[in-house]
């Protein structure tokens, strides 16, 4: 596009902008690789493709088609807009046309994606009058349509939550569908990682168990965005060997990827211009040239801030706000609000959107030309997905990646080779997380009794399953009789389990402004404690609210509109108790233990931060009950005769406590880059004298109950992470510590703590030949 070209040239020539760019990377235009439409396709289907202008298909679509038709489970890795829907629709529709009794299940992670898919499929099916009934079956499906979806839907589109709580527990009603289930399509498989992915494996275990009961053994076709290990993830989720199709044959336009580090405003304290303002300025430059732009922000709060700053900048009643419509988008909005924004973007009525990662998924919002990342998402895979939101078609596009002060961002922006040279991270899951497993075993027994020796998935031994079932029997949830376990609990186990969060309960947010009583959104309980505590300032689209009351027991939060000049940020306090250590290794640098811990955390205080300048206006207290989780942790104990102990000896006793706290902050900041997780997925606690190890200790733990493997991952990659931490620290431009490294120096001593931490790392990592120190 012409305008794109102009602004790209202009930005390149702008000295102020280009001096802050650490790498300007251009991905050349790529031609497509095509294959003829397979001859064996039914003439009707061929004709239909041609009427839609498809004379040939991409090479990866053919590869997926052939593998699926050979009967193999397939995972197709596809960037945005590479025609992945055809990759699975072709084999499924063809097979269903050949066998009138066969059925297929399509699963999308969100309802919005299912709706997109239904309209896409309707085009294929209705457009050519193919005799295939496509039905959506989710929470929004009216009761009157459900029976016909079950009885006559050849392709049923649903989501994991519905499968979990609606379909499987009522499988006798689905007998026709399940006995003839031939294909299961799982789209956006990369989103099934962490706790969601761990649930997903167990859900598939349940589905396969019921399908087997009715005599079917469905074949899987999965689609994933680019991640490091799509095949492994797919195999972990379906627990079957999977054929990988990852040679993308779709064409792509030229793409510019710009790594941008905001200028330093205070070199001494290492303070850079904030991402919020930088993102606003860059996005405005695009928007004002009529370039459709998406801004990704790292949090709900920042999403609202950036959107309101942009709106304020274009606000002008004489020009109808410069004829630009900009919206914010995030989880927590009501579904119809979200649908309206998506539609506005598709139809071009909305020119710009500021979003959390909620729009990272393949929701159809049409073609955008520019993406601005206000801070880097925690994984390289996510960065590429967000950047990929610009340039769906053949035109030139640009993505500007703005580094925030966060150490991970600074690490990436200062190491562009690392960023561009590295393949995206691997996604991993822990299907045998005890909590997740127990929840699904309950549902599985509810669905069909277990016999001694029955299996559940491929990783667990029958004895382990028996052990778990006996545990549930002791709790009175199951009854064992004549060698089988039967459900004997109350109610309906799936109802108590949410696949998305570790906490199935969510708080309803009620606006009470001027006597209103209107629900404007909802939020899970742990997040509500951090964002909706009494007196919290809560931002929702254009409006600002003050939380009046957070009623955790009744899951309600009452808010009213406010006009305060500050926003709030909560401070969480944690306490850890070791339950059991299952591994303890003495390394030369410190002792590393891993085991189970009980973490109690409490939101105790909040900060008031001024809009615009973000200056701290004071603190307030929060009185809410604590959260308690039982999870996995790794402990680094600075035991006598290790290098860490030696390093600690060298630190002035007056600041030892600060030093260990700063090291904790630094690790917490860096580790997510190596663990494909969000910053909030891991917790860190530092103790100068730990009651359990009796020596200075740093804990790294999973914040999801039962753990999703991140603490184990940390133990494995520990040296890499510590090395990266040490590099970030010594390369940081600040003098006394800043948010980009060890956190700002808040103490009041004469000693330079940053220097002390650098010295500490020098001794701590000194024996490791891979570590190089640069000061």
């Amino acid at each position: 596009m012409n305008t794109n070209n102009t602004i790209i040239e202009k930005l390149k020539r702008d000295p102020q902008f280009s001096s802050q760019v650490s790498r300007w990377h251009t991905l050349p235009k790529r031609e497509g690789i095509y294959s003829p439409i397979p001859d064996e396709l039914s003439p009707k289907l061929q004709e239909l493709l041609r009427t839609r202008g498809i004379e040939q298909i991409y090479s990866h679509q053919l590869a997926a088609y052939q593998a699926a038709r050979r009967g193999e489970h397939v995972v197709v890795v596809t960037p945005t807009a590479s025609g992945k829907t055809l990759a699975y629709n072709l084999p499924v529709v063809q097979t269903l046309l050949e066998h009138a009794e066969m059925r297929a299940l399509y699963m999308f992670p969100t309802k919005a994606l299912s709706q997109d898919q239904q309209s896409e499929l309707n085009e294929i099916v209705l457009g050519g009058a193919l005799p295939l009934k496509v039905a959506t079956y989710d929470g929004d499906t009216p009761q009157s349509l459900r029976v016909s979806a079950r009885e006559s839907g050849r392709i049923v589109i649903s989501n994991p939550d519905m499968l979990h709580a609606g379909v499987l527990p009522n499988h006798p009603k689905w007998i026709k569908f399940l006995s003839n289930l031939r294909y299961i399509v799982i789209d956006e498989v990369h989103t099934y990682r962490g706790i969601f992915g761990s649930h997903m494996t167990n859900l598939i275990r349940r589905l396969k168990r019921i399908a087997e009961f009715y005599g079917s053994s469905p074949q899987f076709i999965l689609c994933s965005a680019t991640i490091g290990n799509p095949k492994e993830l797919a195999e972990q989720i379906i627990e079957e060997p999977v054929t990988l199709v990852d040679q993308n044959g779709a064409p792509a336009g030229e793409k510019h990827v710009v790594l941008y580090n905001p200028p330093l405003v205070d070199a001494v304290q290492g303070i850079r211009r904030g991402v919020v303002l930088e993102a606003k300025n860059i996005a405005l430059a695009f928007l004002r040239r009529n370039i459709k732009t998406i801004v990704f922000a790292r949090s709900r709060l920042r999403t609202e801030l950036i959107a309101s700053y942009i709106k304020r900048a274009v606000k002008n009643i004489y020009t109808d706000n410069e004829r630009l419509r900009i919206e914010s988008y995030r989880g927590g909005y009501l579904p119809n609000e979200r649908r309206e924004i998506e539609k506005g973007l598709r139809e071009g009525r909305i020119h710009g959107v500021v979003s959390t990662n909620a729009l990272e998924l393949g929701i159809d919002i049409g073609a955008l030309d520019a993406a601005v990342l206000a801070g880097m998402p925690a994984s390289i895979a996510s960065i590429w997905q967000q950047a990929g939101r610009a340039g769906r078609r053949n035109n030139m596009s640009i993505a500007v990646l703005i580094a925030s002060a966060a150490p991970t961002d600074q690490f990436l922006v200062q190491h562009p080779d690392y960023f561009f040279g590295r393949s995206p991270e691997s996604a991993w899951i822990n299907p045998d997380n005890l909590y997740v497993l127990i929840d699904h075993l309950k549902s599985a027994v509810f669905e069909l009794p277990f016999s001694e020796g029955d299996t559940f998935g491929k990783t667990l031994k029958p004895e382990e399953i028996e052990d778990l079932l006996s545990y549930l029997e002791e709790a009175g949830t199951l009854r064992k009789s004549a060698g089988r376990w039967y459900w004997s609990g109350k109610g309906y186990p799936a109802e108590e389990v949410s696949l998305r969060t570790t906490s199935p309960r969510s708080v309803v947010i009620i606006d009470t402004t001027g006597g209103r009583n209107e629900v404007i959104g909802e939020m899970d309980v742990p997040s509500a404690k951090e964002l909706l505590f009494p007196n919290a300032v809560y931002l929702h689209r254009d409006r600002q609210f003050l939380s009046l009351e957070l009623d955790i027991e009744n899951l309600k939060c009452y808010i009213k509109e406010s006009q305060l000049n500050y926003y709030t940020d909560s401070v969480v306090k944690t306490d850890i108790k070791v339950l059991e250590i299952d591994n303890s290794d003495a390394h030369s640098d410190c002792r590393v233990l891993s085991g189970d811990v009980l973490v109690r955390s409490q939101v105790a205080k909040y900060k008031k931060l001024k809009f615009g300048t973000h200056e701290n206006l004071g603190y307030g207290d929060i009185h809410l009950p604590e959260e308690e989780i039982h999870t996995r942790a790794v402990l680094m104990a600075f035991e006598a005769a290790t290098r860490a102990a030696e390093a600690m000896e060298a630190v002035d006793p007056e600041i030892r406590e600060h030093v260990i706290a700063h090291i904790g902050t630094l690790i917490r900041n860096i580790a997510p880059v190596f663990l494909l997780c969000e910053r909030s997925d891991i917790g860190i606690a530092e103790r100068i004298k730990d009651p359990f190890t009796k020596v200075p200790t740093i804990y790294v733990y999973d914040t999801a109950p039962g753990g999703i493997g991140l603490s184990e991952g940390f133990a494995e990659k520990r040296m890499q992470i510590l090395k990266a931490a040490s590099e970030v620290l010594s390369q940081c431009a600040c003098e006394y510590g800043c948010p980009s490294c060890i956190g700002p120096d808040e103490g009041k001593t004469e000693l330079n703590k940053k220097q002390a931490v650098i010295e500490f790392f020098k001794i701590w990592l000194s024996d490791d030949p891979t570590v190089q120190h640069s000061v």
Binding site: N170, L434, E463, S481, P493
Partner: protein, 380 residues
Amino acid sequence: MAKLSGRLNQLRELREAGATGSADERGKVGRNDAPLPWTGWRAIAPYVWKRSLVLPCPLETQHVEGLLLTNSSLLPKLVFYDFETTGLSGGAGTIIFLAGFGRIEGEKLHIEQILLVDYPGEPAFIRALLPYLSSDKLFVSYNGKGFDRHMLLNRLRIHGYHNTDMPRQLDLLYPTRKIWGKSLKKCNLGRIEELVLNINREDDIEGALIPECYQEFLRTQEAGCMRRVVAHHVQDIASLAQLLFHIERTAMNPESLPDGQARLGLGLLMLQINETRAISIFEAELSAGNEAAGRILVSFYKSRRHLTELREVLAKMRALRAGYFQLIETAKILEHIDKQPKAALSLIQPLLQQRALLSKVNYNELQHRLRRLERKISAM
């Protein structure tokens, strides 16, 4: 293995003590044969017990004719049935543990109850139900269409009986609601027994407690509250028979219903099944001053174009009170049948004067009618 079981042990420790039964109780497996704790029961398969009871028949069978039972040849086909289940929310994990079937033989109500005394007996239990499901029977239930039938279908499917023919269903909930719904609001069987059938259950167990009671029985294998469950269940089936015949008797003798709303309800039920006796009920109600009955009659006669009767009803209604409905309906006859728009207009005009008393819809409707009448008059 060590890891997983170690973690399980931590969970066990974290779990509050005392929340579980003793290991002893847990270990008990249901008896699959004699000795039985209660007299009258016998084992018909492992874990499946059965008993037969004979109760006096709650009706004069020869009187049956007509409303729900179209003729007395249906009598031998009637099966009064009810299930007790391990939960109320349905789903594949909820099972039927007690099934009861009642049939009328001579002057007696013969009830057979089949009890599943532990889960492993479920296939045999389901097998034991099959002989009852003959498709020429008429299955009488209370909310059977909404619950029991689905439960049964689920269990049959799970046990491999995918295409079992289900008997026809006569669900008494619907006629009961039609007759007594307006006056009683809630129509659960307990309330109907108490307020309509005059049945007082003694030492009854609340329905919601039954699943828990069954679990206790499984754990302890002691009769305990299960005695009350099986007695409750017998009464449920007996009540079905009583209710059916109460409805039939009431249909023959509508005046026995103490309130007008119920009498109208009965009439509406009769209308629904094309029972013309309904008309005499409405006529009687109208004569007794019930305007609502008049409205039903108006729409009934209108739909059949029985104009003489229609005029008579409107005249009777007028004698009661010349309300909006009566005036409008009379005006319609004057306008469309008698072709006297002026007379129709003269009825409507005073109504429009009382605008404050009219709803917006009625007012707009009147305005519309008025304009049409004026057009017709001026065209004359």
